[in-house]
């Protein structure tokens, strides 16, 4: 279940989604929290970095591993504005993140419940997953971004 802290940290992830949008990227933002504090932030940067791995969650997991000095992020909660794709869901499992809170569902690539549910497979310790936190605000940004892109391209 989501609580007030979850909404607080999702608002920070939304600020990172806004930063992605300002840079011309699909607006997705992510923060990782440990001991009640944000230890890592990430935002989508795939076009800027010209790089397949530059999703918000990967950037945040990268930063969190550096902050914690190791590859095990147990005790951490990851907040992300859009449901993680298979790559990011797999990275969350590999990093042993305990809890994932996401906003909008992703019907085309979502791997924590939409297209598939990674947590339904026996892949070691799987995180608790909470979805739909500030979902309207998260998906409104995505809709706005794709609508403006269609106008530009059309």
């Amino acid at each position: 279940m989501a609580d007030e802290r979850d909404i607080f940290f999702m608002r920070e992830a939304l600020r990172l989604a806004d930063a992605a949008e300002a840079a011309g990227e699909v607006p997705v933002g992510c923060v990782i929290v440990y001991g009640g504090e944000i230890i890592a932030r990430g935002r989508n940067a795939r076009e800027e970095e010209r790089h397949a791995l530059c999703h918000a969650e990967i950037a945040a997991i990268d930063a969190a591993c550096r902050a914690r000095g190791g590859w095990r992020l147990s005790g951490c909660t990851l907040y992300v504005t859009l449901e993680p794709c298979p790559m990011c869901s797999g990275a969350i499992l590999n990093a042993r993140i305990d809890r994932v809170v996401y906003g909008a569902k992703d019907p085309s690539m979502g791997a924590l419940g939409s297209v598939l549910n990674m947590c339904s497979y026996p892949l070691g310790r799987r995180p608790e997953v909470v979805s739909g936190v500030l979902a309207d605000e998260c998906s409104a940004r995505l809709r706005r971004f794709f609508a403006s892109r269609r106008r530009t391209e059309g």
Copy 2:
């Protein structure tokens, strides 16, 4: 189907697995081939780098995106000694890699046929997958590594 070129490139991936083992890592190696040439190499470095993302495939995809100057690796074949995990399988999809050739199956984390089959879901364009190339040599390295670690730990 595998052919002689596949065996040639898998031997190069095995050399990278050996390099990982020499560094005390689980022996997994990977190369990415475009236009008949190796454009990127990677090996497992999770313990050294203290980093959840440092699988061989991620290192190679990272290098290949830099080599190609973009996030789309269509036209590429990825060779890896061990069946990709969910994170790496997802990265392969995100990078639009056309073909994956792997050696040994991974019954605990394999996401291209063993624990799950990522290619069975409607996740955009999915690669052709060939498994079992030099599988005995690939898995022998893994068995030797874990046996020696058990001896050290026991």
